[in-house]
Every structure is written in C-alpha cells, then in structure tokens.
C-alpha cells in the first residue's frame, strides 16, 4: 500500500482545467520529483495532497485516510503532511523559535519548554542554532527556507512536500537548502518535490514524474526519464530546460 495515493484527481480553476484525472502513488521512504512546464499543475497537486485545495473529482489517500472526503478532519491530515513553499511564508511577526514552535504548541498541545527544546535541536541539526531568537527579515533567503523546512518538520510529518523551494533563492544559496533535503532523504523521509533543479532531481529522486495535460504523462527512475524519455512532450520539455541552462 502506498503512503500517498492520488487517483483520478480533477481540479479546475473556473474554466481552466489544471488536473485532469491525475494518478500518482508514493511509497514510504520514496523520493518522488515532479517536473513539468510552469502552469502544468505541480503546485496545485501538492496543495491538494495537503488539503489546501479541494479536488473536484477523484480521491487522495494519505496513510489510507481519504483527504478528499467531507467527513475527514483536514487539520488532522495536515499535521501529518508537511509542506514548504517557494516563498518561505515564514510568519514575519514571530521569532524563528516561535515560528517553529507554533504548530507543536497550538496543534499538538506540546508545552512551551518541550516545544522549544525540540525546536532548538532541529535548528541545530540544520546549522541554525544561533538564529533562534532572530526575526525572519534578518535572515538570508536560504536561512529562511531552512527555517521553513524546520517549521514543517517540527510537526513530525510522515511525508514532506516541497514546492520549488529553491526557485526564489539566489543561486549561491540553493545548495544549503538542497543539503537539507539530502539529509532528510538519508533519514528515510518520504518526499514529493516539484523542482526545476534537474541535476538535483537526478541525484536524489527514486522516481521522476513528468506532468503535462493535467496528468502524469511519463514517469520512471531518473536515469530512464532523463536519458531515454519516451514521450514527445517529455523530450521537448527536457530539451527546453537544457537550452535554458546553456543560455543562462
């Protein structure tokens, strides 16, 4: 049984049909990378898995709980599914420590001391121990994004969703965020990430999924998908990405 099981999901915004019967299974400890043109629905898919968007049709199961059913307590689902966004979205009025402890304290009912101890431990693991008292606007983009990841991890999620977490970063700062994801993979975290970092995808992904026409058009191990794509659209997309990298 898969940890995340997306089947036949449809999602439209007005007349724009973004997801059209999308299927995706993610196993425990698996790292799945989503690639696809901008606007192909990667963010929408991740937001649906987290219950931030409701689906129009189809089913999403996380750990065999149907996220899309009306009866489910979405707040309970969300605390098991961590998500990190492109724009960090830290709470600017709170210190790093408060950002990280808010969820555990208010949602899991952990007391302040215990939450802070756990937060400091996590921050230290990702080289952020001396940033605990700082406010987000004092941090670099890379530090902010690492705090956002720690904030999600503090909820002890079973799966982490990363939505282009390095796209808003100065190229020099991308590495430190990717290091965090590498570390999570080595610990066995189940990960679904949308990214344009093809090199990184090749390195960490167990499976790469190419999204087009509101579906997973093609998927497979990174070697296979990058070196021997079968679909014309996949080939065209990869060629465009390669050309973009050369011109950049």
């Amino acid at each position: 049984m898969s940890l995340v099981d997306v089947s036949g999901v449809h999602k439209s915004f007005g007349s724009l049909r973004v997801l059209r019967g999308l299927d995706l299974q993610v196993d425990l400890h698996e790292v799945v990378v989503l690639i696809g043109a901008s606007g192909s629905g990667k963010s929408t898919l991740l937001r649906c898995v987290n219950g931030l968007e409701t689906v129009d049709a189809g089913e999403i199961r996380v750990d065999d709980i149907d996220v899309t059913s009306a009866a489910v307590d979405l707040d309970k689902v969300r605390r098991r599914v961590g998500i990190v966004f492109q724009q960090f979205n830290l709470f600017p009025h709170m210190s790093v420590l408060d950002n990280v402890t808010l969820g555990p304290r208010k949602v899991l009912g952990v007391n302040r001391r215990a939450a802070q101890d756990q937060a400091r431990e996590l921050l230290a693991r990702f080289g952020l121990q001396d940033k605990a008292e700082d406010y987000p606007d004092r941090l670099s983009g890379g530090q902010q994004q690492r705090v956002a990841i720690v904030r999600a991890l503090a909820m002890k999620p079973e799966v982490m969703l990363f939505d282009e977490v390095t796209s808003a970063l100065d190229p020099l700062l991308v590495g430190e965020v990717l290091d965090v994801i590498r570390e999570l993979k080595s610990e066995g975290m189940t990960i679904v990430m949308a990214t344009h970092e093809m090199g990184f995808a090749q390195e960490v992904a167990d499976r790469v999924c190419f999204l087009a026409d509101g579906r997973v058009l093609e998927q497979g191990p990174p070697r296979q998908l990058f070196d021997a794509p079968q679909e014309e659209q996949t080939k065209a997309f990869l060629a465009r990405v390669a050309a973009g990298r050369q011109s950049a």
Binding site: L52, D75, F91, L102, K106, V107, M155
Partner: protein, 290 residues
C-alpha cells in the same frame, strides 16, 4: 576585566567618508540649522506684530485671551474635562473590542455564518453613513423618551453609547482593511501546520493586521477624543458645556480657548506618536523592498 588570552575585540566598522567631504557636510548642516532658526523666528515675529498691531487686537485679547478669565475658569474646566476623558476611555475600550468582532463577523465565509455577515455589513453601512451628531441626538433624546423600565436616562451613558456605535463602524473597517492586507499565503502556511481557521486568525493574521493598522486606528482615537465634546448637546457638564456656561455668564470667550487648548494638549502626544509610527513603518517597508 580583560585577559591577554582573549581574542582582540574587533573594531566596529565605521563607514568611511573622506575628511574633506565630512567637513563640507558638517558645515552645510550647521548652515541649514541657522537658516531654519532665523527664518522661523522672523516669520513668527512678523505674524505676531501684524496681529497685535491690528486695530481690533485689544478687544480680541480682552474677550478671547484674557489671562485672569483663564485662571478663573481653569478649575471648573479641568474638572469638566475629566468627564470628556472618562467618556473617551470607556468608549475606546468597547470600540476596540466590538469593532474587532464586527470585522471578524464580516470576514466569515462559512455558509452558516451568512446571517452574521449580513448583520455586520448592514451595521457598518448604516453607522458609517449617519453623522455621529445625529446618533447622539437620537439616542440621547430618543431612548429616555421611550420611558422604558430599567433603562437609564443618563445623557452621559447614552452619549457614550452613541459614540461607541458610530466609531465601532469606522474602526471595524480599519481592522478589516488590515486583515485583508495579509497575504493569503500566510494563512496557507498556518493551515498547512494543522492550525484551525480560528487559530490561524488568532496567532497569524490578527497580530500582523493590527500592527499594520495601528496608525489609522490612532487617527480614529484622536477624532473620537475631540468628538466627546458632542455629548454636550445632551446637557451633561463636560468641558465644552462648562466653557459655554462660563462664556455666557460674563460675555468672555477665554474659556473656549482654554477648552480648545486642553483638547490639543491631550491629542498632541497621540498625533506625534502616530506620525512617528507611520514614518517607522515607511522606513521598514523601504528596507524590506531593497
């Protein structure tokens, strides 16, 4: 205490400006200060001369700026002014709470909350449209006329209630603007941690929204402080009414001037504080934009 083993203190890095430029900048700022003081003194001296040299000045001074009258009226006026301050404080307390509830009520999106939303919207539409002075007259004279059992006829109470009703509508709109200015991604981030909608509002949206609207909120406080004088229409002896009595008893208007100065004295610190906050926020936004 320092030990030689300690690492040497790093000298704080000062911005480097070459000495010639620094001297030039210093002499320019000295010159600017001098020009500013001289021109200010000059303008006020000329204005003062024009006013006091005018033929009507002695008469005006006698009726509006009479020192002895001011001293005589002071004790009564200051006692009356305490009532204004009390009205202001009580009204402000309720306004801050009620306006927040109204703003939150207008923001409810659940289908079951539709009636709440309609009521809150209608309330704001109505009281923002009606002049405060009319609300005061309607409540102050209207409610006692109903002769309802168990309801007070106190004009101070009804005047204060009228101010609360009127200003709650304005302040609710200020809150709402603040709440709507918080980017939806903040909400999404909080919800993704498993916080409920209410927790998200409480811990993430409201603290940021209130910070953002503090200057306009303070502006409304300043306006409210002045409008406590409108309660005089209902008869209680607050400062405007006290000044009126003083003026009509001896045909001297100095008491009005004293009352005016009292309002200025109490609103001035708030005004300056608001300016300061606004400047600070503007600076922060600039810094954030870079």
């Amino acid at each position: 205490m320092t030990t030689p083993a300690e690492a040497p203190l790093e000298a704080p890095e000062l911005p480097y400006v070459d000495p010639v430029r620094r001297a030039r900048a210093r002499s320019k700022s000295r010159r600017d200060a001098l020009v500013a003081s001289v021109s200010t003194v000059l303008v006020f001296a000329v204005l003062g001369y024009l006013v006091t040299a005018s033929p009507g000045w002695p008469k005006v001074q006698e009726t509006f700026f009479n020192w002895d009258e001011a001293v005589a009226a002071w004790p009564t006026l200051i006692k009356a002014f305490v009532l204004n301050i009390k009205i202001f404080l009580v009204a402000e307390f309720f306004i801050l709470i009620l306006a927040l509830l109204v703003a939150l009520g207008r923001g409810l999106r659940a289908p079951a909350a539709l009636p709440v939303r309609i009521i809150c919207t209608a309330y704001v539409d109505f009281f923002r449209g009606v002049p405060t002075i009319l609300v005061i007259l309607l409540l102050g004279f209207g409610v006692p006329a109903l002769q309802l059992q168990g309801l007070t006829n106190s004009p101070v109470v009804w005047g204060t209630v009228a101010l609360i009703l009127s200003y709650t509508a304005y302040v609710a709109e200020v809150y709402r603007a603040g709440i709507e200015s918080i980017h939806p991604s903040q909400r999404a981030a909080a919800r993704s941690l498993g916080l409920s909608s209410m927790q998200t509002t409480r811990y993430v949206v409201l603290p940021q929204a209130v910070r953002r609207v503090t200057p306009p909120l303070l502006n409304d406080f300043i306006a409210l402080q002045k409008e406590t004088a409108l309660v005089s229409l209902l008869g209680p002896i607050e400062v405007l009414r006290a000044a009126q009595i003083s003026a009509s008893s001896n045909f001297n208007y100095t008491a009005y001037v004293v009352a005016a100065l009292m309002f200025v004295a109490i609103t001035l610190p708030l005004t300056r504080f608001t300016d300061w906050l606004q400047k600070r926020d503007a600076r922060r936004r600039m810094a954030g934009a870079m």
